[in-house]
C-alpha cells in the first residue's frame, strides 16, 4: 500500500487525450468522389469490441433513487430493459408484467459510479516492477503513448472496484511523470480477455497533462529540462507550437509524415480529445488556463486539484471541473494546502466537482469519499443535498469525459449502468448489493458466482472470496 501511495504521489494524473469517439466515417464513396484523395486517417485503430452482456428486463420498486443529476425520488421505480434505462419515476410508474421485479425497501439506487482517475490496469496489483506500466518516463512529453496499450485486463482491482465501489465506468490515465503523459482510455468495468473488450464504445480519448513537482523532479534529476515550473511551461508551449504547425500541415491537403504524438495534440486542438490535467496548486491552474487560451484548446478537468477552492470563481467562469480527493493532504509540498472543504467550496461557488480516487483502494469507497466531503461542506454551513453529492460521482465525471449522453445518470435511453445499495450510499454502513452494466447483472452480493475472479486470482488463496 505504501508503494502504491508513493507512486500516486509521483503519478499524479496525466491528462487524458480525448480521441474522437468514432473512426472517421467510412467513405461512402459516391461515384464522383475524387479518386486520388489521400486515405482518411483511421482515428480508431484499436476499436472497442465490447458488447453488452445479456441481461433481463428488470424493475426495482419502492426504492430511493438518486438520479445522478441532483434528483431524488423516494419510493421510486427504475425500469431497464435491452441494456437501456426505460423509465424512472415515482411509485405509480408502470412496470410491465413479464419483468424481474426487486423490492427496494430501505435500499437506494444510483447510476453506476464513475472514476475519472484510475490507474487500474496500467499500475495493476500485484504492484511488482514488471507491472509499472503507467509512466513512459523517458521524455517530458510523450503524447504518443496510449494508456490502453499498457492496461492489463486481469488486474484484480477491477473486481474490487465493482463489488465494493459500484464502479461501472473508469478512465485509465498514464501517470504524471511527464508534462504530456499520453492518451487515456475509458473502460467499462467489465473483465475481458483484451483491453478492446473493455473499451467504452464511443468514449472520447483524453490527454493526460501534469503540472508542478513531478515532471520537474523527474527530468531535473536527470539534468535536463524541465527542472523548474517555468521550465514546465516552456516545454509545454514549445510543444503546442509544434502541434499547431503539424495541424496546419495535416490540413493543407499535401502529403505529410504522420507523427502519432502530434496526432494526439492536434486532436486536442481539434476539440476531439479532452484535456485531463494533473495540477495541485491554484496559481499553476490559472497559468494553464491562459496557456489553453494561448493555443486554443480547452481544459476539461484539473485532477488532484487540492487548491481549487482558492480559485473556485475562476474555475466556474472557465467551465473547468475539479477532480479531487475528499481529504488527502501533506504527502508532498504541493499538497500542503489541501483542505477537506475543497469540494464544498467549489460546489457552493457553482463550479464543477468530481470525486476521484487515483487509488486502487479508495476507488472501492468513492461513495464514502463523497460523503466525507459532503459532511465537511455542510459543517461549514453549505446546503448541499445527498443527491447533489452523488452527482460528483456520476453525471459530473461523465460530462468531463464526454460520455454524459450515454451514461452518468438514470434517464430513459441511457445505458443501464446502475447500483442497488443496501442503504444510503453516503453511509459508511452501506455496500453495493447488485451492480448492472448495460443492463447485465455483473455483481450480486448474494450470489458467489455473480462476482468476477480475474485469471491472476484463479487457484490462489482467497479465490472468489468476498474480498
Amino acid at each position: 500500500m505504501r508503494e502504491r501511495f508513493r507512486w500516486s504521489i509521483l503519478a499524479a494524473p496525466l491528462a487524458l487525450i480525448a480521441c474522437s469517439n468514432t473512426t472517421e466515417a467510412p467513405k461512402s464513396a459516391s461515384a464522383d468522389a475524387p479518386a486520388e484523395k489521400p486515405a482518411k486517417l483511421n482515428k480508431d485503430p484499436y476499436p472497442s469490441t465490447y458488447k453488452p452482456y445479456p441481461g433481463v428486463a428488470t424493475a426495482i420498486r419502492n426504492v430511493t433513487i438518486f438520479d445522478g443529476e441532483g434528483g431524488r425520488i423516494d419510493n421510486g421505480v427504475v425500469f431497464f430493459a435491452g441494456d437501456k434505462i426505460q423509465s424512472v419515476g415515482g411509485p405509480d410508474t408502470p412496470i410491465p408484467a413479464d419483468v424481474a421485479v426487486f423490492d427496494g425497501n430501505g435500499k437506494f439506487v444510483t447510476p453506476g459510479i464513475i472514476d475519472i482517475h484510475s490507474h487500474l490496469g496500467d499500475y495493476p496489483t500485484p504492484s511488482v516492477d514488471a507491472h509499472d506500466d503507467g509512466n513512459e518516463a523517458t521524455s517530458p512529453t510523450t503524447p504518443e503513448v496510449w494508456a490502453e496499450h499498457s492496461v492489463w485486463p486481469q488486474d484484480p482491482g477491477f473486481s474490487r472496484a465493482l463489488a465494493n465501489g459500484g464502479i461501472t465506468t473508469l478512465q485509465i490515465l498514464p501517470g504524471s511523470a511527464n508534462l504530456m503523459g499520453g492518451r487515456s482510455v475509458v473502460l467499462k468495468n467489465v473483465y475481458a480477455r483484451t483491453v478492446q473488450g473493455m473499451k467504452f464504445p464511443g468514449a472520447p480519448y483524453g490527454l493526460k497533462m501534469a503540472c508542478g513537482e513531478n515532471p520537474k523532479r523527474v527530468y531535473g534529476a536527470r539534468g535536463r529540462m524541465p527542472s523548474t515550473r517555468m521550465g514546465n511551461l516552456a516545454v509545454n508551449r514549445q510543444t503546442w507550437i509544434k502541434a499547431q504547425e503539424y495541424r496546419k500541415k495535416r490540413d493543407s491537403g499535401k502529403d505529410y509524415t504522420r507523427d502519432i504524438g502530434m496526432e494526439t495534440l492536434a486532436g486536442v486542438l481539434d476539440g476531439d480529445i479532452t484535456i485531463q490535467n494533473h495540477c495541485y496548486r491554484a496559481d499553476e491552474m490559472a497559468i494553464v488556463l491562459d496557456m489553453a487560451k494561448e493555443f486554443g484548446y480547452k481544459v476539461s478537468t484539473f485532477h488532484h486539484a487540492v487548491e481549487s477552492y482558492k480559485i473556485a470563481d475562476l474555475l466556474r467562469e472557465n467551465d473547468v471541473c475539479s477532480a479531487v480527493w475528499a481529504d488527502w493532504w501533506g504527502f508532498k509540498m504541493e499538497a500542503y494546502d489541501a483542505i477537506p472543504e475543497n469540494a464544498g467550496i467549489l460546489h457552493n461557488a457553482g463550479a464543477c466537482v468530481i470525486i476521484h480516487s487515483d487509488d486502487e483502494n479508495q476507488i472501492q469507497r468513492l461513495n464514502q469519499e463523497a460523503a466525507k466531503a459532503l459532511s465537511d461542506a455542510r459543517r461549514m454551513g453549505f446546503q448541499i443535498s445527498d443527491a447533489d453529492a452523488i452527482r460528483w460521482l456520476t453525471y459530473n465525471p461523465a460530462k468531463a469525459m464526454g460520455i454524459d449522453k450515454m451514461t452518468g445518470s438514470l434517464k430513459p435511453g441511457k445505458m443501464a449502468d446502475l447500483v442497488l445499495w443496501n442503504g444510503n450510499p453516503l453511509s459508511v454502513y452501506s455496500r453495493p448489493e447488485k451492480v448492472w452494466v448495460d443492463g447485465a447483472l455483473l455483481f450480486d452480493a448474494a450470489d458467489a458466482k455473480r462476482r468476477p475472479v480475474s485469471d491472476f486470482e484463479l487457484g490462489q488463496p482467497g479465490e472468489g472470496d468476498v474480498k
Binding site: M1, R2, E3, R4, F5, I9, T125, P126, V128, P156, G157, R160, N164, E213, Y309, K310, I311, A312, D313, D327, W328, W329, G330, F331, K332, M333, Y336, D337, I339, P340, E341, I345, A349, E360, N361, Q364, R365, Q368, A371, L374, S375, R378, N422, G423, L426, S427, V428, Y429, S430, R431, A445, A448, F456, E457, Q460, P461, G462, D465, V466, K467
Partner: protein, 430 residues
C-alpha cells in the same frame, strides 16, 4: 544535560496535567470502549486527568464542571493502533520527515521519541477528528529492526510522548527479506543472529563482535529479550505468520505482537493458540504484493471469531497524516455484517478495536484506551455515531484537558469560504 533530559522524561510519563479539574460529561450515549454496548444517558467523570467513574447512574461530584452531552455520543478518544504520527510534516520534504533513520547505521537502538513533534500540523488535524493517542513506530530501512516506538498523545501541549521505547519494531515479511539481503531465509537467520549477538553482549562474552549489531543496538535489544519491551513484528502472509510464531516458541520470553497480518484469517487458529495479539490493517483486500494474495476485508472479523485478540492499525497506509481514517475503517468492518458471506465486527467490537484493543496489544490497557476506572481521561464528544462519515467531534479531552479543535486547514477554509479577493488581498484576511 543528561539530568535535564531525565527530568523531562519523568514529567511526561503519564503525569497529571497541571490544569486538571473534575469534569462530568452527562446525558450522552456513552461508549466505554471495552467492547460493551453503549449506555444511553451515561456519565463519565474525569478527575485530575483520569477516569474515576463511568456508566449509568453515576453521581456527578459537587465540584465538577458538568458538560451536557444530551443527543451526543461520548467515547474514549480514538487510539491509532499503528502510525508514524508526529514524525512527518510533509512526507516528500526530507527535512520534515523523521520516519526512518536508515542511513545512520543504527537499527534497534533508534528511538522515535525525540523526533515526535507535537507542533506538527498532522497532530492538530487528527486531534480535531477525535484521535487522542497513537502508537508511533519508526520505519525500517536497510535493516530488519526499525528501532523503538512510542505511544504519544495528541494534546496541544508540548509533551507528546506518553511513553517512550514501548516496543521494538521488526519487519519479517517481504520488506524484511529485502532488508536482510533478499530472502526470508536471510531475514530469519539475521533475526536469530542479531538476538544471539545481543545475548553475547549482555553476557560480556568475548565471542561478542559487532559484525551485525553496534553496541547501542545490542543494548536496545536487551529489553526485548527479557520481555520488558514488546516486539512488534510486521508480517502479512500466512506462511510468514506461522514461521514467526515458531520464533516465538524459540524465544519464549519475548512478548510478541503481530502487525499488518493481512492473511491472518488463513491461520487464525494458530495465532489464537499462540496468544499473540494482532494489530491488523482493516481493509486490505488486494494482492498488492504476493504476501497479500489472500487479503480480504473479512480478515479481522474472521480472526476475531477464531479468538484472536485483534485491533486496527494503519500500517504503511497514510500513517503520518490520515489517522482520522481509523473511524471510517472501523465503520467499514461493521458494514460487512450486512454483506452475505462476509465477516465483520459488531459496532461494539469495532469501537473496541480502535480504543482499548490497541492499548491492550501494546501492554498499556490498564492505563489507556477505555473508560474503565483509572484510565487516562481521553474523551471525545461526537455530534453523532463516531464511526459514521457525517459525524465529527464537538469536544476533545486529552488527559482530562479540553483541547482546541482548530487547525491550519480550518484557517485556509475560513480564508477561502468566499474565494474572491476583497478590498485587500487574501493575505490580509487573518
Amino acid at each position: 544535560m543528561r539530568h535535564l533530559l531525565l527530568a523531562a522524561a519523568a514529567l511526561t510519563a503519564l503525569a497529571s496535567p497541571a490544569n486538571a479539574e473534575t469534569i462530568a460529561i452527562t446525558g450522552g450515549k456513552l461508549v466505554i470502549g471495552d467492547g460493551s454496548a453503549p449506555i444511553e444517558g451515561g456519565t463519565v467523570v474525569i478527575r485530575d486527568g483520569n477516569v474515576v467513574a463511568a456508566g449509568a447512574g453515576v453521581a456527578v461530584p459537587a465540584n465538577a464542571r458538568t458538560i451536557d452531552a444530551s443527543g451526543k455520543w461520548v467515547t474514549p478518544g480514538v487510539f491509532a493502533g499503528f502510525s508514524r504520527l508526529g514524525l512527518s510534516e510533509v512526507d516528500a520534504v526530507n527535512g520534515t520527515n523523521d520516519k526512518s533513520g536508515g542511513k545512520s547505521g543504527f537499527s534497534a537502538a533508534i528511538d522515535v521519541a525525540p523526533a515526535i513533534d507535537p507542533f506538527r500540523s498532522p497532530i492538530a488535524v487528527n486531534r480535531s477528528a477525535g484521535v487522542t493517542r497513537a502508537v508511533v513506530a519508526p520505519e525500517a530501512a536497510g535493516n530488519i529492526f526499525a528501532g523503538q516506538g512510542a505511544v504519544m498523545d495528541l494534546g496541544s501541549d508540548s509533551d507528546a510522548v506518553t511513553k517512550a521505547r514501548v516496543f521494538q519494531f521488526v519487519e519479517l515479511g517481504e520488506n524484511g527479506a529485502a532488508a536482510a539481503g533478499g530472502s526470508r531465509s536471510s531475514s530469519h537467520l539475521l533475526f536469530r543472529a542479531m538476538l544471539r549477538e545481543a545475548q553475547d553482549y549482555a553476557a560480556g562474552r568475548n565471542a561478542y563482535d559487532d559484525e551485525l549489531l553496534r553496541a547501542e543496538d545490542a543494548k536496545a535489544l536487551q529489553a526485548v529479550l527479557r520481555g520488558e519491551q514488546r516486539l512488534l513484528v510486521r508480517v502479512e502472509a500466512a506462511n510468514d505468520i506461522l514461521r514467526v510464531l515458531e520464533l516465538k516458541r524459540d524465544y519464549p520470553a519475548i512478548k510478541m505482537v503481530l502487525v499488518g497480518v493481512s492473511e491472518g484469517w488463513r491461520v487464525a487458529d494458530r495465532i489464537a493458540a499462540a496468544g499473540v495479539p494482532v494489530i491488523a490493517s482493516a481493509l486490505n483486500d488486494l494482492p498488492a504484493t504476493f504476501e497479500l494474495l489472500g487479503a480480504t476485508q473479512s480478515n479481522i472479523g474472521r480472526m476475531k471469531d477464531a479468538g484472536v485478540k485483534v485491533s486496527i492499525g494503519m500500517t504503511d497506509d497514510r500513517d503520518s497524516h490520515q489517522l482520522r481514517y481509523t473511524t471510517q475503517y472501523a465503520g467499514n468492518l461493521v458494514s460487512l455484517q450486512k454483506v452475505p458471506r462476509a465477516t465483520g465486527l459488531s459496532w461494539d467490537e469495532a469501537f473496541a478495536a480502535i480504543s482499548s484493543g490497541p492499548a491492550e496489544a501494546i501492554g498499556m490497557g490498564d492505563q489507556l484506551g477505555s473508560f474503565k476506572v483509572g484510565r487516562v481521561g481521553d474523551v471525545v464528544v461526537w455530534d453523532g455515531d463516531p464511526l459514521e462519515l457525517s459525524s465529527a467531534p464537538v469536544a476533545v479531552f486529552v488527559d482530562g484537558v479540553e483541547q482546541p479543535l482548530g487547525n491550519r486547514q480550518n484557517r485556509l477554509r475560513d480564508r477561502y469560504r468566499t474565494p474572491q479577493e476583497g478590498s485587500l488581498p487574501k493575505a490580509y484576511e487573518h
